[in-house]
Symmetry: C3
């Protein structure tokens, strides 16, 4: 029953791009495997130690996602981590510390691009969250259609930007509100909360918890359930639900980049980030 | 305590229309009984086999609702089914298959009209859901002020349009989001889910479950509770809550009709609907 | 650990206003105590018999709040009642009955001002709800960052305006929807519900319940948790979450005052309010 049904994937390839054969491709940061029989790809984050979203990571992520988006054989993607105990630690602080204005602009545009492509993807997207997922890592999960998390209470998830003295941008917030509602989002964002898996389930931040050894199987089952629907109607429905929030960033994209640059360039913010990095180093040492 | 309180129903009759005496009126598709002592009407859907929302049904529904709306003696309406096991199966697929553009336009305008009148009704509206209620049937329930469903898990409710390869229009979506929130709506609409009664309760899609034999009694009790409030303040409050969503359809009504026509006229959609009807016939056979 | 962390309170004093020393100040309606070591003020409502929000109360409330807002030593405020069994009974009906148009305008502007300052406050605001909290009293609680209520089921909370034949203004509604979501707000506002403490918890109208003797301790603990975050990031986050709703009133402030005046001046409304006051007097008598 995992075979694509007859309504599967109308021609979505770009003109001139032949339908892709089954394949696995790997960059240095992400590993992609596509199972042609089910139409499901798995994208594994493999950027140790913590899968931080560096400019390089984001670039490879977007290229890989676009390849899949344009591949007729692919109808859904499962995102998971190849690094133990961490899904993704979020935006790479190194990219936001002591760099040039041009670098900040390039980095922020890449973060936006990742979100725009993933939140607006025509494919079914499932996050198989096999580790902690703070800040930008949480955003990646929130941006998917469905979230399954390992039931280990040591793994936590949340938009904890406020803990670092920074502010989640409005489109992180919009995505969060769409998932957990206004009240939970307001409290969680102000407190910069990292929710242990059971609490994340309670708030609807993730859709279900499973034992670690069942995660991939569960993700495949959920994916099959979503792929049982005709692609076209499902895609139009998804687009209808997300359009307002996607359009808001598209309309304010350059302004959002300028806001990021002026905020991140402040000496007080740079100091906070350096202190935070020091703290992380000490924790490890 | 079921007598209308002094604040009940300010003059809402149209000029020239005398205040109505107690009455029952029946068209071929809906049966209306008004209990003058309580000010409560019951509208029963009696269009076997499945109370589908045909053009004829919708026309009679709107005429009946308008009569009640203009009747000083009526302050609230309970909607229920006279057909066993089904509340309403939703929009009549026959009206959307192999018909002329003019017919599609007339039909869609009637669907809009039903929703506009019901969602914007000054009366208290209670859905007593005594059977399954997919698609447009679910919309009728969502559009009421309160939903009571028979606790039979064989009865299900949901906006399952995606299952048929079609897309719920934006105002179905808006109504759904207002009831269950964005996250539940997004998932349920993409999956075209039909929720068994207990799950519908859990998601807030219905407000409570009762045994079938208690349904009418419960509906009357709930109605009395809502009618204990002064009409005027309750009506203004209801209007304040629903205005944004009502205004959106009013502002885009013709565009929405054109969208429906161009979508439904597609050969691929016509084919999906024919396949779905075949499936329904086989099920019965 | 209650000492302000290094990031505590950037210079927010108005120019020329020296940083305030620790102090307690009392007007006739509110009593304010500031604990400099923790940076936390407690504002106690002491306007017996029911802490109704009279023009005088609102004026003192706003002046006190502004003093704290401009006091570097203060980072958070706990609101509670010095009157047994009641947090606040809401807007003072005496101010809305048989007064001049000018008085209605002045009163309504004061209500708006209270909400604008409290909902937009840079400080952490915690409601320690030690009694019933109907209508405007509920609004004060909803406007805080966090709500802790005494677990006594005899204490209830809600926007019960509809019970009095009046309508909660759109910004009461917006604040309510931001806390409990659209569905709960729609039902509760139409029914003018007063929710006993356990039900209020279930609906998310309050965040937790505690025994009366633990209330102040719990409020202090929660406050310390919120103050553990850097002020600047928390304030920007709070502002991002609330800006849309705050801006709506700012944009329609004069219109909202005119609406209030024309509504409250109606003879039917005046009659309803007089009847309600008679009922209250009889209850006491």
């Amino acid at each position: 029953r995992h075979r694509p049904p007859p309504w599967g994937r109308a021609a979505r390839s770009l003109p001139g791009l032949p339908p892709g054969p089954s394949r696995a491709f790997s960059n240095s940061k992400v590993l992609v495997e596509l199972d042609e029989s089910s139409g499901v790809a798995t994208m594994k984050f493999k950027s140790p130690p913590v899968n931080s979203l560096s400019l390089e990571f984001l670039t490879e992520f977007c290229i890989s996602l676009e390849k899949l988006e344009n591949d007729r054989a692919c109808r859904g993607v499962i995102f998971t981590s190849a690094v133990p105990k961490i899904f993704s630690s979020g935006l790479d602080i190194m990219e936001m510390c002591g760099k040039s204005t041009e670098h900040y602009a390039e980095f922020w545009r890449a973060v936006q691009e990742m979100w725009l492509r993933l939140y607006g993807s025509n494919m079914v997207t499932v996050a198989a969250i096999n580790g902690s997922s703070p800040a930008g890592g949480c955003l990646v999960a929130l941006t998917c259609d469905y979230r399954i998390m390992v039931e280990n209470p040591k793994f936590s998830i949340g938009l904890n930007e406020a803990q670092l003295g920074i502010v989640a941008p409005f489109w992180f917030k919009d995505t969060f509100v769409n998932v957990v509602g206004h009240r939970v989002a307001e409290r969680s964002l102000q407190l910069g909360s990292l929710h242990p898996a059971p609490e994340a389930l309670k708030f609807g931040l993730v859709d279900e918890l499973v034992p670690e050894e069942k995660l991939q199987e569960k993700a495949a089952t959920v994916m099959a359930q979503w792929l049982a629907l005709p692609d076209h109607a499902r895609q139009l429905t998804k687009s209808m639900m997300r359009k307002a929030v996607l359009d808001r960033l598209v309309a304010h994209r350059e302004e959002d980049i300028q806001n990021f640059i002026s905020f991140i360039s402040k000496e007080s913010i740079q100091k906070s980030l350096r202190m935070y990095m020091e703290m992380l180093k000490k924790k490890k040492g």
